[in-house]
Symmetry: D2
Subunit: 409 residues, 4 copies
């Protein structure tokens, strides 16, 4: 693959070994100016070292942004309005961060007049797709550089050789192979590869970084309340919090109670199965709480419609189509349902379990008067049920009369 | 509502106070012969007392059947192939039992020449619908009697008066109001009503009957294996078990480890919200295990297609449409996917948590050779990803070029 | 069914024999004041006779409204944005009119302080459901009176006896049985019942009232253009027209060219099949034109998402759930897609055929540069297709390698 | 792209100029033995010339197969059971033929011990995807050669130069550019490219090859009957016909009556929009007839479930996933519904119109007794409708009571 002609490239730069090598490699291979962009998405690493390393590498335009509030408010929360789970289980922690990074990269590219963007994702994973689909959707003529698909630094040894030859600092712990690969942000931490590659073998406890184990969690439950407004969480235990602060607090609660671990074999968009260990402590609580408040405030058919479209919505995000017409259409549908999703949920956190134990709302559709086993004073006329059933059954009876017993088609 | 003309009616008879009153009420109101049918679906009650009570009430044709194996094999297992959850959470324990009871009732009706069937479900709940849709689908000209919608015994006091006036034994504990209402079978136990009617108030520990609390479960995890063949569980810890025996064993494991409790506000088919406490110890393990074995044996699009239709399938069962063409069509789709769902899952059970920690299968689609972070020796060509992404992005780029940035529709 | 206690009822009143009988029957049976509401939805009948008849019947508050523009703008057009077809064929002409009538009835009820509403739909059809669901959604405590389900005027003879006894004018043509029943509005005319009840027998030409037959249409085609803005039709042959005027003009074009006839057996919400003859001349052209402009302005996945949800949306409208959360959610999704659906379509109308023969738009996503068979100057790199296909095929290849040839699940 | 190492390749060979060039190019470029495969799918061309040309080119193993019956029976008919339409309009005539050609190619490859297959589809279209996905699904280790993506014969001039240099006969009409490109088989003929590339310009009459224009069709209608058995057409006018013979006969009827033309802008799987002119005379009649017989024999929910999944099924076929688990799963669902789809439909064919004017079936679910406007003698109790509506409305009333008027979510 011949090197494309590029004048200026915005690199998603973490400051770690890999993207430091990429930085240098871009400068050498493309002979172009590199602009670095380092984002704080709550991954738990300091950003200033990245700035210094970029300076050392001769970068003139360095962007370091704290995007945590934007991340939670404009990406995580909209996604949780959908109760999104990929393949029934995965809370999409990595998937939902990529579009934001890409969006900011493209903004910077416009700002500094860059014609290219680059990322450090490999050619086997989903992240390359997520980054690049977002780039193209936001700037269709941008040149995308994906060094891992292009270069010949295909082994750890060659990567480190390149680093050393180019005065890139290789810390001791990076010299050997990491036993697995990690991605982290405010929503979750994911681990995969290497020692995790055999799906028949249990993941070692050392893999888990964001949660203590259920076994080590306290022997007494923690009870909290969460308040929602129009589908988004706004307070914990009655204390109003900003989106990122709230998620940070939920993470602490989840971590302490061993909540949010997931050991999953999933299907990647590029066609293979992979195994990941996910830790989503706060998100796991948030999902349970959101379902809890929806259970009394959402109309049945609104809820079922959302549920029926959720897998598709989750798949879109997993596959990297955040910036697509179809995601926006589904989001409009979902958001339209959330105007009444306001109220308080009480949850019990205990050794890996999140249990909704109470819900209340000014918009509640739950009617004790109607549902009661006691005398309902005419709120519901039981005789109506007969007509309801008779007409529901009519087509089945006509079918049975035509010889199709028991719904044989 | 005028009493319909009925000659012989088959009553779903538990032997409890309510259906004993119904038995007598049917004899008096319809002046017809009553045939009783009592089924063992694993509810954990002896059936012989029901037979004796029926004899005392003058019933001549009494049917008492152990349907546990049929229940699990032909109803529970097919449903679990779909990973069915109603409203994202409910394992449909009550819903799936009703069609079997109704089916057997109709078989008996044909056998004894009855022209009517009767059940003890109230006019507010889902069960009346489930019973009656099944009746009509299997015998379209049957007369259905639902005493709770017809009679005037609308208070506990009047019911007990009727019982006493008619020599029906009222045990001491039935004399007062039960604090909540219970339905149970081999798959689950559900509790609702009375003290559970306020969804803001936590359910009391006394409500739980099938599981010990996570707090009281052992401090060490239990690890088990489950074997699947064509989508159905066939063995625990390597020991082959019949369907009902296997579910019984899973229930014991779940109960001991505090697994399978659910406190839910759900939407009934008849249009109201209700709150239920469900305990599905074995089913909760079974679902996790089935998802685990599917994760390595199901093709991605097969899995996603199933996931996208699951809410509809679950809704059908919840609403009582087991015997319908649409349920059979969806079942055909689901079953077609299960031919390769064979293999072994390892699970950890610990204080309410069920965690899949390993999966293996002769049919595994997981390819370590393809997914590896190490050199894959050409199993996957990373350069292919570029073309893949470029064509996935083409429509987004054309859209952006036409002025729709970021997928604005 | 005992007469409910009612003080004042708003009746949907056409001025015809049936609703005139209902008017009188309501006055007699409920001893209440009746307010009449007569709407012009483009059914092609004069409204002033209805006013006079209501006056003669002693009605004090008489409402006669021309709702044609509202009908097309707020009901027909939103529905056409979805390309809605019930059961693949029916353009929902009756279904879409009912919610508007009901909405206005409830507004009037609020205005005049009525506690009840009444309609003239029978107990077998869909219209009773559509009226009443709308009533309840807009005024949950309203009392609904459906005379056809309540009274004993169940034969034509008794109806006419009642009319004569009560000085209601029975025109000669109403004295005998009408050979079929008709509903009409600006969107369509439907005919059903009586001579149309046998679905094996062709409908007689006399049934058709809104269209000439294709055989009698001109021997030369009519070519027109239609302009769309944000998904709605705004002009014919370059002349801007209001919604109702535009549909009126399309009806004339369709009628003259024998367009829009449909002979259909459909499934009613109440559980039976029925046979209807529909004539939707303008709507048939509108649907073709809308699909035409969407074909160049809608993104592929936006279009496919709409298509996949269309049957559900159409079913909702058919079943009477216009005023429901789920319809509004779907509408939000659909409307979100229409912002770019602007441009011009050229259509040929000829003896029953509507053919899109040209489309153009400032927002077109069709790129001659990309699609051309000629040299595209790098707009599309054919080599990308290889990677695209390789990754699309990966899961199939892994499946085949695991022994599942040809996608055997 | 370096030439892969190939020993023997099976080429899908039409005998035309393009595939003749490919044949020679494969021999030269890959230095491998080429096996040709020419199929009769009803495209209306003689096959023997292809055999002779292959012999002249030195091919030793030549396969010429008449696949018409297989094509209709195992591909076209299963697809029509679904009423499949891509993007609401396209009958998938090209899409459905590709998997059969690919399947036979792979069978031949296995038979002759070939390690590669080749096709003549370009790198911009859908057909390359359809061929190759089928190849990979059936023989995962096969080498695929797509000359159009590989070679440098990218202009007509160079192609003809290559032909002349290699003694490939170039007929006079092939020397100039064809004004558009055609694909044909027993189901349809499609035309695209060149003079058709501007979607604003009407297609010229010369494009149409399979149908006369509605204008030129007879002035009197043709009435036919079609018989179906288990969802498949089996007879025309009472005469039993084999699948291919039946479709041939329908094509003649459609052609003569100007039926089945479509001018469409569609979305390709590879990401671009394209414009095609399709002629599907017999298929258009078949679809109308199949919908007609389903209208009286399919249960409502069975029909709606099919309709809701149809767009997905059609998309799968369009995209080339015939041999995939998800297509087989959907097929199982569809086929399960067709057991009762048996009976006779009467159709009127007139100048482009296909109208179902009658349907009858021994399995009919249409009940004149229930639907009648006359006295139904108790077949349907109109009072049941009240309870039906009341319970359907309950959630809407609870919503309205909670302040959400008119279904505001």
């Amino acid at each position: 693959m011949a090197a494309k002609s590029v004048k200026k490239v915005v690199l998603a730069y973490s400051g770690g070994l890999d993207t430091s090598v990429i930085l240098k490699w871009l400068q050498q291979t493309y002979g172009c100016e590199v602009v670095t962009f380092t984002a704080d998405l709550g991954q738990g690493e300091e950003l200033e070292p990245a700035r210094r390393k970029a300076e050392l590498a001769g970068v003139k335009q360095i962007f370091v942004d704290d995007l945590r509030e934007t991340f939670v408010k404009d990406f995580v929360f909209p996604m949780f309005r959908a109760n999104a789970l990929y393949e029934g289980q995965y809370l999409l922690g990595t998937s939902i961060a990529r579009p934001l990074i890409a969006q900011r990269q493209i903004e910077i590219a416009e700002e500094v007049g860059a014609d290219a963007v680059a990322h450090g994702a490999t050619g086997k994973g989903n992240d390359q797709v997520r980054f690049e689909l977002a780039y193209y959707a936001l700037k269709p003529d941008v040149t995308v550089i994906a060094p891992w698909r292009e270069w010949d630094l295909t082994s750890r040894t060659r990567l480190i050789e390149f680093a050393e030859k180019n005065q890139i600092q290789v810390t001791k712990d990076k010299r050997g192979e990491a036993p697995f690969s990690v991605d982290a942000n405010l929503l979750h931490s994911s681990s995969e590869g290497k020692i995790l590659e055999d799906p028949a073998v249990e993941a070692d406890e050392i893999v888990y970084q964001r949660t203590i184990s259920p076994e080590n969690a306290p022997d007494v439950a923690t009870t909290i309340t969460m308040d929602f407004h129009n589908g988004d969480a706004v307070a914990i235990n009655g204390v109003a919090l900003s989106p990122a602060t709230l998620l940070t607090e939920l993470n602490a609660l989840g971590k302490a109670n061993g909540i949010g671990r997931l050991d999953l074999v999933e299907n990647r968009f590029v066609g293979m199965k992979s195994r990941g260990i996910y830790e989503t402590p706060g998100g796991t609580i948030l999902l349970a709480a959101h379902r809890g408040i929806e259970s009394i405030t959402l109309d049945r058919e609104a809820a079922h419609l959302k549920d029926s479209l959720m897998p598709r919505y989750a798949e879109l995000i997993y596959n990297g189509f955040w910036f697509s017409p179809e995601r926006r259409m589904l989001q409009a549908l979902i958001d339209t349902s959330q105007g009444s999703v306001t109220g308080r949920v009480t949850l019990k956190l205990y050794k890996g379990n999140v249990t909704v134990i109470g819900r209340e709302s000014p918009n509640s559709l739950y009617s004790m008067k109607v549902v009661t086993f006691e005398d309902d004073q005419g709120a519901y006329n039981q005789v109506d049920a007969q007509g309801f059933i008779k007409l529901q059954a009519l087509r089945l009876r006509l079918g049975a009369a035509a010889g199709r017993r028991g719904g044989t088609p």
